[in-house]
């Protein structure tokens, strides 16, 4: 999911940076500062998620968790993911500082999209909420894969194969994320529904 340093061309990096800055600005504006602890905890969860590997067949995949971050934070997912990605690039050398903008947009934009599309459904009855949260987890990784493929359009010569590959190879992650997100939302709905979208007074 993380694009390495030195792969993308200048215009792509600049566009990514500008979009990430805009998204972060909107996110900071939307942020409920009374619930900043929640933002921090979700940011930490995202930071750690990349270290959790699953071995599937011959390969290993890692969690992204942008779906659940998006559902719980909405636009604030942008600053949360930006912070987590910055620290990932500094501590784990995943991605890099110059590609930070592109990587942030790739992961945070799908999170916000899923929040806008599926967030309202979380408030509905139990089964609808479970299905919606599964799709939030699934689609947030799917859109992230699509955006990742799109960022490579100017640098990979056989773009269609690469984008197909990115999406297919991330299918297991989408399913796992969907299940994880559905479980988290079901649990939160039972235990502490106040932090879910739509429940806010």
């Amino acid at each position: 999911m993380h694009i390495s340093e030195g792969v993308l061309s200048g215009p792509v990096l600049l566009t990514g940076g500008a979009l990430a800055a805009a998204g972060t600005a909107v996110g900071l504006k939307h942020m409920d500062y009374d619930r900043i602890a929640q933002v921090g905890i979700l940011s930490s969860a995202f930071f750690i998620a990349s270290l959790i590997h699953f071995n599937i067949g011959p390969s290993s995949v890692h969690l992204v968790l942008n779906g659940i971050v998006g559902l719980l934070l909405g636009w604030t997912a942008f600053p949360a993911i930006l912070v987590a990605l910055t620290l990932q690039s500094l501590f784990f050398q995943f991605g890099g500082i110059t590609v930070l903008g592109v990587n942030t947009v790739n992961m945070a934009l799908p999170a916000v999209l899923c929040y806008l599309l599926l967030g309202p459904l979380i408030k509905k009855n139990h089964s609808i909420a479970i299905v919606a949260s599964f799709f939030a987890g699934f689609l947030s990784v799917f859109f992230a894969a699509v955006l990742l493929a799109m960022s490579l359009v100017f640098t990979e010569e056989n773009f269609w194969e690469v984008s197909m590959l990115v999406i297919i190879s991330n299918l297991p992650v989408m399913v796992i994320e969907g299940i994880v997100t559905a479980f988290c939302i079901a649990f939160l709905k039972k235990v502490h529904p106040v932090i879910l979208p739509g429940y806010l007074a």
Binding site: S4, P58, F92, L152, M164, L165
Partner: protein, 208 residues
């Protein structure tokens, strides 16, 4: 259409090896004239059959090749210059490693065929690890065993004996150890610190 699909599937099978990782590293070291490289993903998976390109300091491509089943690739250095070794793993993944000129010089300074060995011969007191027989040989000037021969033998033996140690040293310089526990907790610490700063300003604003 079908052909395209088959091609895409084949491509997928080949590429799956490096489909998921989020970081690739290539690591290279010099032994004699040969440059050895080792490529892997975070988590220790070897980068198999990944293309490697070697550039000189001016950015001209010197050669290219592919890693083998162990993610290793070695080549004879075409010239002793600074080299930039780039591993292209596709899908936005790329790893780089630079070999400086010094590494070649260090490696070759002991080689008797090399002009550098002239310096050593000219200043014998500087070379600490020379065998005791060395002065004897020079004074006796035996026709069958010159000081160069002795030096050559010593160098060769030393090379052989030191090889495992050098390998180990090179491996320990390898940057890819994966994140440590301190990295993980350090990162979380930073996030909580930011939360603290945010909470502090929020609290101050409320008080006013």
């Amino acid at each position: 259409m079908l052909g395209g699909l088959v091609y895409a599937l084949l491509f997928l099978i080949i590429m799956t090896e490096y489909a998921f990782a989020h970081r690739v590293t290539v690591f290279a070291w010099v032994e004699g004239d040969t440059v050895y490289t080792e490529s892997k993903f975070s988590g220790g998976r070897k980068a198999k059959n990944a293309p490697i390109e070697v550039f000189d300091s001016q950015g001209r491509k010197l050669l290219e090749g592919k890693t083998d089943e162990n993610g290793e690739f070695s080549f004879k250095a075409p010239k002793k210059t600074e080299m930039n070794i780039v591993l292209v793993a596709g899908m936005g993944h790329k790893g780089e490693w630079t070999i400086s000129v010094d590494e070649f010089e260090e490696e070759n300074s002991g080689n008797s065929q090399n002009p550098a060995s002239q310096d050593i011969k000219a200043t014998p007191p500087d070379t600490v690890n020379e065998p005791e027989s060395m002065p004897d040989e020079t004074t006796v000037t035996s026709p069958c065993l010159t000081s160069e021969d002795v030096q050559d033998v010593v160098e060769k033996t030393l090379d052989k004996k030191l090889k495992p140690i050098i390998n180990k040293l090179n491996k320990s310089l390898d940057p890819d150890h994966g994140p440590s526990v301190s990295d993980i907790f350090g990162g979380i610490g930073y996030i909580f610190g930011l939360v603290g700063v945010g909470a502090y300003f929020n609290y101050r604003k409320k008080k006013e």
